[in-house]
Symmetry: C2
Amino acid sequence: MAAWRERSWWGWGWADDALDDDACRRLAETSLRPWLPIDGSVLPVPYDPVLAPPRLIPPSIMQEAFAADAVTRAAHTYGKAFRDVVRALHGRLYNPPDLVCYPRTGHDVVAALDWAEAVGAAVVPYGGGTSVVGGVEYRGDNPWVSLDLSRLNRVIEVDVVNRAVRVQGGVFGPALEQALAPHGLTLRHYPQSFEFSTVGGWLATRSAGHYATGPTRIDDFVEAMRVITPQGPVESLRVPGSGAGPSTDRLFLGSEGTLGVIVEAWLRVTDRPARKASASVAFAVYDQAVAAVRTILQAGLRPSNCRLLDPVEAMLNAGSTDGRARLLLGFEGATTALLADALTICADHGGVATSGGPPSAAPGGDGRSAAPAGDEGAAASGAAASGGAGEVASWRSSFLRAPYTRDALIRLGLVVETVETACPWSRFEALHAAVTAAAQAAAPARVAVVTCRLTHAYPDGPAPYFTIITPARRGAEVVIWDEIKTAVSEAVIANGGTITHHHAVGRDHLPWLARQRDPLVTEVLRAAKRTVDPRGILNPGALL
Amino acid sequence: MAAWRERSWWGWGWADDALDDDACRRLAETSLRPWLPIDGSVLPVPYDPVLAPPRLIPPSIMQEAFAADAVTRAAHTYGKAFRDVVRALHGRLYNPPDLVCYPRTGHDVVAALDWAEAVGAAVVPYGGGTSVVGGVEYRGDNPWVSLDLSRLNRVIEVDVVNRAVRVQGGVFGPALEQALAPHGLTLRHYPQSFEFSTVGGWLATRSAGHYATGPTRIDDFVEAMRVITPQGPVESLRVPGSGAGPSTDRLFLGSEGTLGVIVEAWLRVTDRPARKASASVAFAVYDQAVAAVRTILQAGLRPSNCRLLDPVEAMLNAGSTDGRARLLLGFEGATTALLADALTICADHGGVATSGGPPSAAPGGDGRSAAPAGDEGAAASGAAASGGAGEVASWRSSFLRAPYTRDALIRLGLVVETVETACPWSRFEALHAAVTAAAQAAAPARVAVVTCRLTHAYPDGPAPYFTIITPARRGAEVVIWDEIKTAVSEAVIANGGTITHHHAVGRDHLPWLARQRDPLVTEVLRAAKRTVDPRGILNPGALL
């Protein structure tokens, strides 16, 4: 871990990985001008923020766990969505946390919650801060504390016999994989935020990794959890399976910091895959590519990578300029030989393999610690490990840099954001059309680039992931995006999609979740919250 | 469906499949005398029961939905555990339901709950009545109604495109498979009770099917559910995946009729497997067999059948008299070729294949409608489809008859019951020893046959399933069993096992669950119950 590197307080990832002004201008000239009406000016990176003084004084008994400096508070004001980065760039830090608390132990968490209850402060648990749904941003009137769990960072025990790891909630992805690598083990969970997000954050938001099928959602890796609520700790039993009533873990998975602070978990890990095989397949007819993915899944094949890019995504991200869609396929471990079956299905649907070699040994032991951002990047990393060629490699490098490029596009005056969902196969075509139409109708001058890829696929439906890019009026970016987001979200739920497949609910998705979640279930969750958090201090305004 | 056949009110399954008195005597002479000190007398099957008159009068508006005759009430008094059958045989029907209600629609369910709230009656939802944990037996003082959902028996829609089926809660296993078979589809969920249990019962109790690995618990097949609570219906969104907060379905999965009545569900189905392959492997050293199973799972292999029988189980159930343990292995569909890998791992651990042929086409389309009782039976059915031979076939026929044989053993004066759990691999050896010792120490004259098989296996641990047989004093069977059960349950939880892997909690497991479930979680579940069932009419005494 490069501990001396500084995280960006306004944008994605490492400060020194951001594109500088010149790089932004080059990007504009070489890649964007042909496409989009931009003026080429670059919104400057803001100086250190100036904030109103905190309304809270840290408790004397644990003063050293608190920070109150402006940069730290600014960095904990928002997550990392488009609307977060653009607001930070404009210096619009409306409601920064009064304090940031860094507990080092479970006792610290208990003490912090007790103190917050006593002084009437809201507490927003914060893992890596990569929320793109307003999950770590408090919008209420009370003084508030961002509870940054990054110092609960111990990998407590690697249990090789039972293929499990006991880990604290604040451990980041690379640190976990580094601890597992010497044992030949891996969690195999690579959300897009892998490098900058934590185990506790994954659990609180039910994150999905980049593997397209099979166990990919963090839920399926959980053996047991330890959660600290304002009413005390909750622990679940560590067993490989249990049918003893409604699952305790499932109650806290996806609770997004509203029911408790996830301080520890036992997670299932696995041997590093010995072999991988991958291919890239071109489809002239997009609907046939969708049908191929459906058939692969329903045939019982479970490729670890199964990512369908529409022609624009393929061009932008995999360097394919033939106007055809691309399916990136990968198999791992004992199922390597199944790639041939999947390719046969693709051929039945008009797909032509454009790259893909024989199964090869997988790269071992790097812990992926150096791999920036993961959802797409790590997927492509797997693919690129095979004999396959240019397209998967290009896809990889494109996505390694994607979040930084996103920040540059924002500085160049573009609205650029993603929307994701999942729906039954039978509804995908209509949903795809409706989302595209809604985004374009809501965009300024009714012009937007809307691309789609399938990031996950199940036998009963795909998880489509849309990228929306449109020029913005400077200063009006948030309003423009919010209008698009509203229109698109309406299109999603009108066409049977979930308001979120893996980005969580936070505050931004709440209006639609409130319409998709049965009101009686909302009442049940509120009753649960009253039981564990009677004063309602935990992440108020999120999820419920 | 042989609709004219009569279900046994006192014992398992069909009345005419029970062993008659002569068959019981033959069983005693040929199979039991050499083993166990029994006198050969046969407890008679009771005449039709005589019960106190009901304390409730059905509501006039839906009178035809209610039954009050003695046989129907008797049949709904208990589930089908050992202690249920032996009490029924002795005519000890202490607290029969006052009425049995058979709703035909969701509206009927709503009306029944409203009426029960108004008259102060408890309501115990009843699917197929195969609970072995006191899940359908009310032990309180109020008048009560058994809500038999077997007439909510429609398969509403088979959605081939999305590989899903919409089904009412009262549909039995064979009827569901019959509806799927013409489409070449199957749910592939075969709990031991398959023939006599319902979709709603599976969901309410988080049942586990017979497949040893991979998706086997009903939880993983659920797309969406419709549940009627006393406060109104709850519906979840039908999508292939969602990260939108804590899962609604997971709240009701395992709720055991305490939070609502599961009236409908969308379940994921799959193509019938085209190919199967199986083998039987003998191990002289039991610990090595356990290690082989662990290694198979941790190598990423996911056999559909992976059942380890200890030498006594192998003798009783697979006709193997060489004193060696047996591992029954099966692979299905695209993974057929993996059997060779699994057999290599077995050989590494001293295992010798005693049967097992090349992959063969799987039998198709029978809907398994004629297959009696499933957990073991259906598993063996898959295995027997291969080129493999005597042991798997013997195992199959033995388990097809097992629950009926169990009833005969009870009539012959034996205590015969099973206990199941799941624990980490590293704790299995100690748990196995402790359960065996506890059962024997608690048995009369300290003599019991205690056998163990692994019914399910995960990378992080096995699910051991113990059968305990010991002679009983006539009339004291329940007391004797309850003492053994208490001792064994203490051994299970002291050694890190869950109090139930797939038999659910009901009333019999509640004392131990109360020690394994975090008290704060119990409070949360109680708050949930107060929200949906403020008068507490639903299955009082179970789970909470």
